[in-house]
């Protein structure tokens, strides 16, 4: 009885909070309502929907021995206590995606993003992670590509691998671009991030040579040194002799990131890649916890409108209307195809009991969604004028601080002359105008929350702490992603020329690393030199690719359910799959063929060529921009074709296996 009352109270509180959000009018709204609405929705979904998934759809059964127990080897197959594994899985899935996407989507206002994050995770993202985790757990921890090959067919399997590699390339390029945009002309940020490299070498030496295996103490020492570097950065930025050395333009930083990605991928992992991974994981967990604490302590006021006028597609942060682009921009946090790779990677080999998959598969994704809600809150507490002055490209703002004031006012928001300069000074930066990419505005929001909760005098330090935290784990994604991309490329290239597949052969390693770094580096340089800032065209492409990977994962999930006698419940994956196919196909189509040159790659290319003919653009630069547009268009088309091929191949399996057709499945009855 008490439990029933408790759930009725939670449901009523959640419904009440959604009601307050829906009916709210006026200048500001307290962030507590967003938190209450989201958390109550998560609790209800976890208690009821994930229980239905666990018991009825997936049939989790603790009498069945998991692969972690059966194949235990003390290395990757390790039965792990439920809450430790929850932390492990959460640390693996929560990254830059759920932090940056919601900040960019805030150009539509806080409401569309909030609704999509909550509804999307409950019915889509968490279901995908859960189903794939269980599917992989019951097949000895097989990867998504292997599952696709086994369940759908070898063509689908190979296509899935090609799609994963292509998505990695775009992901690495766009995340590297976020870092470049955050560190541009920021000596404090550049110095702190550069310090992580010698710190990582020192940690590597500590845990490999000096005290083998002592990773925890090396990491604690590393985190302490990082804090020293953070404070030293302030001094460097204030020094007239040192500041110019660390004040770098975007192209220079981009080449630095490219060189870093290549070196980290070819040298032994213990030197650079692994210690930086530990540093970033410690920082990530600590900072996310601090952010949650800070938001709860300060309960800041949301200043952004619920819905802005840019829902019509005229927005300066990225082009495109609320439908479909809100659902593309926010991928991680609502549904992220990349999670399917993690859920079919290390985690399924560590599940001690089958029922542990429910908190880890479904629960950890709800937590990741909550991180995205916090990022959305951090962006929404900025004044709308400040948010748009930071996130719109300089060309759109009019080219100068004075012009920006006029432009922002024309958009219907307020910005006082000198306001951006004062804000930049308080954050220890030279300028915050047109700092696109999402990371700087998230950092300003986080700095205001931390300053409110833990001390006003340190605002500039908090800002650079937030920038360091974002750059640190994005660069860790860049180096580990490059390494994984290298292995994938070697495997695929090995089909054509066998020696390429030998991962221990140094020339093959160097060549494959160069190919992978070259591919994402090309998109990165394209983004950095783009007059509109690059995020504009690359982030939608990343969102599309991630959502299409989710469509592939949900097709695999649906196939698992149908092939193993759960066709009646296959709607749990078919529902989000249908929505994603509608959203991504529309978005792909618009990116390819939309008449507005701000949205469509091809119409942008034809606008450029008419500019060249008219003589307003020099031909060499025009030719390069047109080439970029065509590559982007080709990539969007390839994503779309690959995904639909996998979906259609899966649908053929579904129809063949469906009991309604009277064809009994040759596979022994085994739950997915």
């Amino acid at each position: 009885m008490g439990r029933v009352l408790m759930w009725i109270t939670i449901a009523a509180a959640g419904a009440g909070a959604w009601g307050v959000i829906a009916l709210h009018r006026g200048e500001t709204m307290n962030a507590a309502w967003l938190i209450l609405a989201a958390v109550c929705s998560y609790l209800i979904a976890y208690r009821f929907y994930s229980r239905f998934l666990a018991h009825t759809v997936l049939g989790l059964d603790d009498t069945r021995i998991t692969s972690a127990v059966r194949l235990a080897n003390g290395r990757d197959y390790v039965p792990t206590p439920r809450w430790v594994l929850f932390g492990h899985h959460f640390a693996a899935i929560a990254g830059a995606g759920p932090l940056v996407g919601p900040v960019l989507a805030a150009q539509f206002g806080y409401l569309p993003g909030t609704i999509w994050l909550v509804v999307g995770v409950i019915l889509g993202g968490a279901v995908q992670d859960f189903v794939i985790l269980v599917g992989s757990m019951r097949r000895d921890g097989k990867s998504l590509g292997q599952l696709a090959k086994e369940e759908i067919g070898s063509v689908a399997g190979t296509l899935a691998m090609v799609a994963i590699l292509a998505i990695m390339i775009i992901l690495l390029a766009v995340l590297a671009l976020v870092v470049v945009k955050a560190l541009e002309d920021s000596p404090w940020g550049v110095f702190t991030i550069l310090c992580t490299i010698p710190i990582a070498f020192g940690m590597g030496f500590w845990m490999k040579v000096w005290r083998p295996g002592q990773t925890v103490e090396a990491s604690v020492a590393g985190v302490l040194l990082l804090m020293v570097a953070l404070f030293a950065g302030k001094w460097v930025a204030a020094s007239p002799a040192l500041a110019p050395i660390f004040t770098l333009d975007g192209v220079t930083i981009a080449w630095g990131v490219i060189a870093y990605g290549f070196i980290a991928s070819v040298i032994p992992v213990w030197m650079l890649l692994c210690p930086r991974d530990y540093l970033s994981t410690f920082m990530k967990i600590g900072t996310i916890a601090a952010l949650a604490l800070g938001i709860l302590m300060t309960l800041p006021a949301i200043r952004l409108p619920a819905i802005t006028r840019f829902a019509d597609g005229s927005g300066p942060v990225f082009a495109g209307a609320l439908f479909p682009f809100c659902f593309i921009t926010i991928a991680c946090g609502a549904i992220s195809g990349f999670h399917a790779l993690v859920a079919s990677g290390t985690t399924p080999k560590m599940l001690e009991r089958e029922t542990d998959a429910r908190p880890i598969g479904y629960g950890a994704m709800l937590m990741a969604s909550f991180v995205a809600i916090m990022a959305l809150i951090a962006a929404s507490i900025l004044e709308p004028g400040v948010y748009f002055a930071m996130n719109a490209p300089l060309a759109t703002l009019g080219g100068s601080a004075d012009a920006a004031v006029t432009t922002i006012r024309e958009w219907g928001f307020t910005l006082v002359p000198g306001q951006m300069e004062a804000l930049a000074a308080s954050m220890g930066e030279s300028s915050l105008l047109a700092r696109t990419g999402g990371a700087p505005s998230l950092a300003v929001g986080m700095a205001q929350i931390f300053a409110g909760a833990f001390g006003q005098s340190l605002t500039a330090v908090w800002y650079h702490f937030a920038i360091m935290f974002e750059a640190l784990f994005i660069l860790t994604t860049v180096d580990t992603g490059t390494r994984v991309g290298r292995f994938m490329f070697q495997e695929l290239a090995g089909h054509i020329w066998r020696p390429m597949a030998r991962t221990s052969w140094y020339p093959a390693t160097v060549l494959a690393s160069a190919v992978v770094v070259g591919a994402w580096g090309w998109f990165l340089i394209q983004g950095v030199t783009d007059p509109l800032g690059g995020i504009n065209s690359l982030w939608p492409l990343f969102g599309i690719s991630n959502q299409l990977l989710a469509a592939v994962a949900l097709s695999v999930g649906t196939t698992l359910l149908i092939r193993h006698g759960k066709a009646a419940h296959a709607w749990v994956t078919l529902l989000p799959l249908t929505w994603l196919l509608i959203v991504t196909t529309t978005a792909c189509w618009q990116k390819l063929f939309h008449a507005d040159p701000r949205i469509g790659f091809l119409s942008h290319a034809s606008r450029i060529s008419s500019d060249v003919v008219a003589g307003v653009l020099e031909p060499a630069r025009g030719a390069r921009l047109i080439f970029n547009d065509r590559i982007n268009a080709a990539l969007a088309a390839v994503f779309l074709i690959v995904t639909w091929t996998v979906v259609i191949a899966s649908a053929r399996v579904w129809l063949r296996r469906s009991p309604a057709n009277g064809v009994p499945s040759p596979v022994p009855a085994r739950a997915p």
């Binding site: 235990a72 080897n73 003390g74 290395r75 990757d76 390790v78 792990t80 206590p81 430790v84 594994l85 932390g87 492990h88 640390a91 693996a92 899935i93 929560a94 990254g95 830059a96 995606g97 990867s143 992901l171 995340l175 845990m207 490999k208 083998p212 295996g213 990773t215 925890v216 990491s219 992992v269 213990w270 890649l273 692994c274 991974d277 530990y278 994981t281 410690f282 967990i285 991680c332 992220s336 990349f338 999670h339 790779l341 993690v342 990677g345 290390t346 560590m350 860790t476 994604t477 580990t480 390494r483 994984v484 292995f487 991962t503 991630n546």
Partner: protein, 61 residues
């Protein structure tokens, strides 16, 4: 439970959450299943673990 056991458990949990190698887990597994062979040294275990962890997708964006 003594403080040293609690401490060892906490460190083991941190290691597994952050994806670090945990030699004590390996040793326990080895003792239980392969007691006829000598176990790997901590250094060799560390190297093998890293090789495995960084050859597949271990994180999201």
């Amino acid at each position: 439970m003594t403080i040293s056991i609690r401490w060892a458990r906490a460190v083991s949990a941190i290691r597994r959450i952050t994806g670090m190698p945990d030699y004590s887990v390996y040793l326990a597994h080895h003792r239980a299943n392969h007691c006829d062979q000598p176990p790997l040294s901590e250094r060799d275990y560390f190297e093998q673990f890293l090789e495995q962890r960084y050859s597949g997708v271990s994180r999201c964006c």
